[in-house]
């Protein structure tokens, strides 16, 4: 798959990577800013815009990645359920066929005078 398709389908993991990289970059820039000055009043804005913003970006990245995994797991649940429903449908069809066969057999037997005897137990 090319990059665009990957980004489109895995948008949340892509966003997570971008957010985490951005957070690390902001963390580094904030550190450079605080270590650059010797006055506390000039460092505190860097702490706010660098450190806390980095925490927020990393939070976004972690949440996006966990959301991606949860979505994938939800999809697997969904698929398993679909399989279950498909099996149920198959079983329903099989039962209907057996019932129809038995009905036809009994009808035929009635027309030909043979007593109906069912050797098929249908359980529903």
């Amino acid at each position: 798959m090319d990059i665009l398709k990957f980004v489109r389908t895995q948008w949340d993991r892509t966003g997570a990577v971008v957010a985490i990289l951005g957070g690390l970059l902001v963390l580094l820039l904030g550190w450079l800013g605080t270590s650059d000055t010797k006055y506390v009043a000039q460092q505190i804005p860097y702490v706010m815009s660098g450190g806390l913003l980095a925490i927020m970006l990393l939070t976004i990245g972690a949440v996006l990645w966990l959301s991606a995994d949860l979505r994938d797991e939800w999809r697997e649940l969904s698929e398993q359920g679909e399989v279950l429903l498909a099996e149920q449908e198959a079983r329903d069809r099989m039962i209907e066929e057996r019932v129809a066969q038995e009905v036809a057999r009994q009808l035929g037997a009635a027309r030909s005078g043979v007593s109906a005897r069912s050797d098929v137990a249908v359980h529903r």
């Binding site: 010797k38 506390v40 009043a41 702490v47 990245g61 398993q80």
Partner: protein, 510 residues
């Protein structure tokens, strides 16, 4: 992206609770309620800073600021003066000294008489046992005293010491003719401290023939309240130097403008950049000006030509090379020099101009003979601020070894050992007044022993109560705080990764 699907109908009977549309009574509703409460609680916490934030009027720093404006001074040397001393007079002078420790001294005096002479009448009276008059030509106040004004015909001295500012002004003569000095130190709203001094003189008679009009010298030093960095501003200008019959000839040049450099007075210290004026164009070579209108701006001479409407720039003031002007002055008997502004560690001394001329010897007489050398100089304005912000490193703008001692020393100067009696004219000997000493603008040596300074940190509760005190907070602890925040962020990221592996991935078994 997310949406609610309706619950599919459940048709078959089953041993389980059926048919009810189970609204999510679980997580989101409960969470919404809890989140609302939590947000309200957090929001009320946010009000705390606004309730307890302190008023921000005062300067939260330790500082020492000084401003001094010195008027013109005259030094007279003549062989007939007894003991070979030079007679010196000067003034008016205004000084303001303010510190964060509660010192706010303002003084305005005319002429500058040092520190001793103003006290002499009292001393003399004490020695002689007689009540003596107070020194008349000084107005001085300290922090806590009422403003003082001393007025005489032709002289107004004013000094006031306010809680956040110290102001002194001395006016001799009038605006049209005379001199004035202003000095002011002010605590600013942003937490900085500004120190400003200005000296003006008008219609000064220099020598027998020259008149100096609209002289101004200005010095300002402003220290930033956060960083302690000092911003210096200085400016020296003379509106007009005129002499009847003064003839100035500019050399012939190739067509075009005169060379733009050098325009400075030869031998002078480095000058600031020239003012943004055009260079005098000389259309056809050498040109002679009679009684030109010569000005002076920060070390560069200017000439204002009569307006001819063809300059196009709206101004007819031009920069001129200094050589011809100085030659013209010399031809009239006047030697002019300029001391460039001096940048101090914590302030600035403005430029000063000196004229020297020699009065010819009078006819032989028993009293006063020989030529008299006269040196007249415009006083320099001095502005210094040393500010040390609280909870920060060493004070900015102060080099080791100078500290604030130099500014204090230059204020006091060295008092004369003995003084000639009459206050009028202020004839003193050898008083090292700023701006009037042998070297114009050369302040007393700043290489004094550093004063012992005491770090004073205000009490933690000095502002309105409930604030967080950063006393004890230092640069390194902020760095440590930042590293802790970074560690928290990275630990959160690691925890999310572990949660992924343990909580999401591994639970799917089939």
């Amino acid at each position: 992206m997310w949406h609610d699907f309706p619950r599919p109908g459940e048709s078959a009977p089953r041993p389980r609770q059926a048919g009810t549309r189970a609204r999510r009574r679980g997580f989101p509703q409960v969470t919404a309620g809890r989140a609302t409460v939590a947000t309200a609680a957090l929001g009320s916490l946010l009000l705390v800073p606004f309730v307890t934030s302190p008023a921000r009027a005062d300067v939260n720093a330790s500082y020492d600021a000084f401003a001094s404006g010195n008027g013109f001074s005259t030094v007279i040397s003549n062989e007939s003066i007894p003991t070979g001393i030079d007679i010196e007079g000067g003034g008016p002078q205004a000084q303001a000294h303010q510190t964060s420790l509660g010192i706010g001294d303002a003084s305005a005096q005319m002429p500058y008489a040092g520190e001793t002479v103003p006290g002499l009448p009292g001393t003399g009276a004490a020695l002689l046992g007689m009540p003596g008059p107070p020194y008349p030509f000084i107005a001085a106040t300290n922090r806590g005293s009422a403003p003082a004004t001393v007025s005489y015909p032709g002289l107004t001295l004013h000094a006031e010491s306010n809680p956040f500012s110290t102001v002194a002004s001395a006016v001799f003569g009038t605006d049209a003719s005379g001199a004035s000095s202003d000095a002011r130190v002010t605590e600013q709203d942003g937490g900085g401290v500004g120190s400003v001094s200005e000296t003006k003189a008008n219609t000064l008679q220099i020598g027998p023939a020259f008149t100096v009009s609209d002289f101004r010298t200005y010095a300002e030093a402003v220290a930033d309240g956060t960083s302690g960095a000092v911003t210096r501003t200085t400016h020296t200008s003379i509106g007009r130097i005129s002499a009847p019959g003064l003839v100035t000839t500019f050399p012939a040049q190739t067509p075009g403008s005169l060379p733009s450099a050098p325009l400075t007075i030869p031998g002078a210290p480095p000058l600031p950049d020239p003012p943004p004026l055009p260079v005098l164009p000389v259309p056809a070579g050498g040109q002679t000006f009679v009684a030109p209108d010569i000005g002076f701006v920060d070390g560069y001479f200017t000439m204002t030509l009569p307006s001819d409407g063809a300059t196009g720039s709206g101004s007819n003031t031009y920069l001129v090379p200094s050589g011809p002007v100085i030659q013209a002055f010399k031809a009239a008997g006047l030697t002019m020099t300029f001391q460039a502004p001096e940048k101090l560690d914590n302030g600035v001394v403005s430029g000063a101009v000196t004229w020297e001329f020699t009065m010819p010897a009078p006819p032989q007489n028993p009293g006063f003979n020989g030529p008299t050398r006269v040196r007249q100089s415009t006083g320099a304005a001095v502005a210094t601020v040393t500010l040390r912000p609280l909870s920060s490193g060493p004070a900015a703008g102060v080099a080791a070894g100078t500290g604030s001692g130099s500014s204090v020393d230059s204020a006091t100067g060295s008092s004369p050992g003995n003084a000639v009696g009459s206050p009028l004219g202020g004839l003193l000997d050898g008083a090292a007044a700023p701006g009037s000493a042998a070297g114009i603008g050369q302040l007393p040596s700043t290489a004094t022993a550093p004063l012992d300074t005491v770090d004073l940190v205000p009490a933690a509760g000095s502002a309105t109560g409930g604030t967080i005190s950063f006393a004890g907070f230092s640069t390194s602890s902020i760095n440590a705080l930042y590293l802790v925040l970074a560690a928290i962020a990275l630990c959160g990221l690691a925890a999310a990764t572990v949660l992924r592996v343990m909580g999401v991935r591994s639970r799917w078994t089939s």
